[in-house]
Amino acid sequence: MAAITMLEAIRQALFEEMDRDPTVVALGEDIGVYGGAFKVTEGLLAKFGPERVIDAPISETAIVGAACGMSYLGLRPVAEMQFIDFIACCFNQVTNFLAKSHYRWGAPVPVVLRGPSGGGVHGGPFHSANPEMYFVHTPGLKVVYPSTAYDAKGLLKSAIRDNNPVLFFEHKFLYRRIKEEIPAGDYSVPIGKAAIRREGRDLTILSYAAMAHTAAEAAGQLEKEGIDAEVVDLRTLLPLDRDTILNSVKKTNKLLIVHEDTRTGGIAGEIAAIVCEGAFEDLDGPIVRVTALDTPVPYAPPLEQRFLPDVERVVAAARELAKY
């Protein structure tokens, strides 16, 4: 079987779910005739028609609100944010309407909000963001952020079948840069389970999305220096897979967290707290973070390069941590 990109894997998940279940509908800006800004939804309209693939006006609040309303009648809408940065425009719908619906009045909201996120493509301050933590801080939502084609397809299927609002982040740097062979036919990847990408003894590097690849590359370099790093890919940020995190730390006794999100209030802080609560006695060194700067995502390539974590910085931090 031919290897496919992460973008194609996401597209396949949409096609297969819409083919399987007539309650699955898609809506968003330019998703129909044009096939989406990144062509993720290309061909959906031709196959499933304008009742199920809805080109919406530039109205994120209306898109997400309508998706919520549709879900109250039992549909499973998948709403696209053209860039995930624009989810800021419908923050109220997401955090107050969708997220609180089941808790407040027992109305489940089986909606998926998906969109391209992340930097490294010179998109500048409004087309590169990683706004996941606004939503990780919102009870009632689930937040998924895959790093491989296999996971993207399997997790999107799980998200569509989930009875809760799921935010599905698609790292645009990975869309066409990674390829892998994935099994034919239906499979899903459970929400809320991290994956151990590389077993190791000396320290744990915990990451997700594009940085999961940076972490893996760093582990390869560290191996040459005699440091055996374990690489964990979170895959889901809400709910967090505490067991996998704690078990890995209990095994390696050292934790380095890498994320592309900004530093203050990033998920590294939350994970550090979880590890202090659940595995403090097992730690042989400080919990270390390698993250983006606490700035907007800058536009010029040298500035963005400075902003984003890279392999060298991860290796350097791991090297220091390994000395403990």
């Binding site: 061909g43 499933f48 309303g69 719908q93 489940p108």
Partner: protein, 427 residues
Amino acid sequence: MSHSLTREQQLELYYYMQLNRQLEERMVRLFRQNKIVGGLYSSLGQEAISVGSAYALEPRDWLAPMIRNIGALLVKGFKPRDIFTQHMAKYTSPTLGKDGTSHFGDLKVRHTVSPISMLGDLIPVMTGVAMAGRYLGQNIVTLTWIGDGGSSTGAFHEGLNFAAAQRAPFVLILENNQWAYSTPVSRQVPLKHLADRARAYGIASKSVDGNDVLAVYGATKHAVDECRAGNGPVMIEAKTMRMKGHAQHDPADYVPKEMFDYWKARDPIVLYEKYLTEHKVWDAKKKSEIDARIERELDEEQKFAEESPSPPPELAEQGVYCEGCHAIEPKWQRPKEEVMPPKASVSAEWRVHHFGGLDGEIPGAKEVAAEGNGAKAAAPGAKAEKAGTKAAAKTDDGKDSAPRVPFGRGPKDKAFARERRDKRGRR
């Protein structure tokens, strides 16, 4: 006001309005006794709008109340105990004490969506409900309310525009009660009639006397019928007056006394009582019968609420997520095959009916149209051509002769690319 309501129905309108008012008067007393946990928002003087508009809906239709639409909830089949217990944060309330006031709903029987406190957000949500109802073949209409204040939110405009673009079977009642908390309409909107807001979206709208329950009912019934016939959405501005402050804590000193006097003389219940008497729909005996029934019912319902327990503290931790507690089963009222391939499949292209210039006509429309529908555009084959016609019929009401603009990189567009190549070759 002409209407087709029976005598029983006319009396029922009175019953609901008076029930609405008496229920709220009891809640004011409960508030003063510290038995209402949070704020209390009055709909005094606005009962005709809640009751008259909700009364125009059928049981299959959906509504979403705002904070002052207690009367609509009663019409939709909720009990006064639901309102009492919600305000008193009781375990027996529809939300088990997790939320208060009119913030509750029922997906299964009473087809009611719970509001949130942020204004305007129900408009896109009820648009979505309307779209889903149409998709499932349910032939439902959805309805919600917005205040003069809420009509300035982004959600209002995004939602109403989307509803209009989708021709959603959705009715919006703009309840103009003259005050957004302490700010008068004139300082919010430079319009005399807020019904004019709808003109920006190309949808039908009108202003009615919101204190005339029959006028509200009649206008809403007409709007609901229009929506069910596929001519939605419709907006109705109901002019009224908030006769109390924003909530119980607010004495509304900022409202001129003369303004209260003006509207007090137009009290919707007093006006309707006069109508019922003048048109001999009832007599004094009938009125006291209904009033007595309301008192009796409210006594019972209030007693139930006051004797209800508070929720157990551990409930706070439960129910953030649906973990299999709800089975989600849409009610299909059309064959699913219609929305599945191959039936649903279309040719993915736009039809453009207007090139956007100042002169309404398409310059050279005929030639372009002929080309658009001619041999070249038909390249994908007869099957796709047929499907394309279907798509256009569903998404557009324009003429079939409009040119198509293929886009993207689908199979149909290979033909477009070929066509373009041919053209270049010819040159």
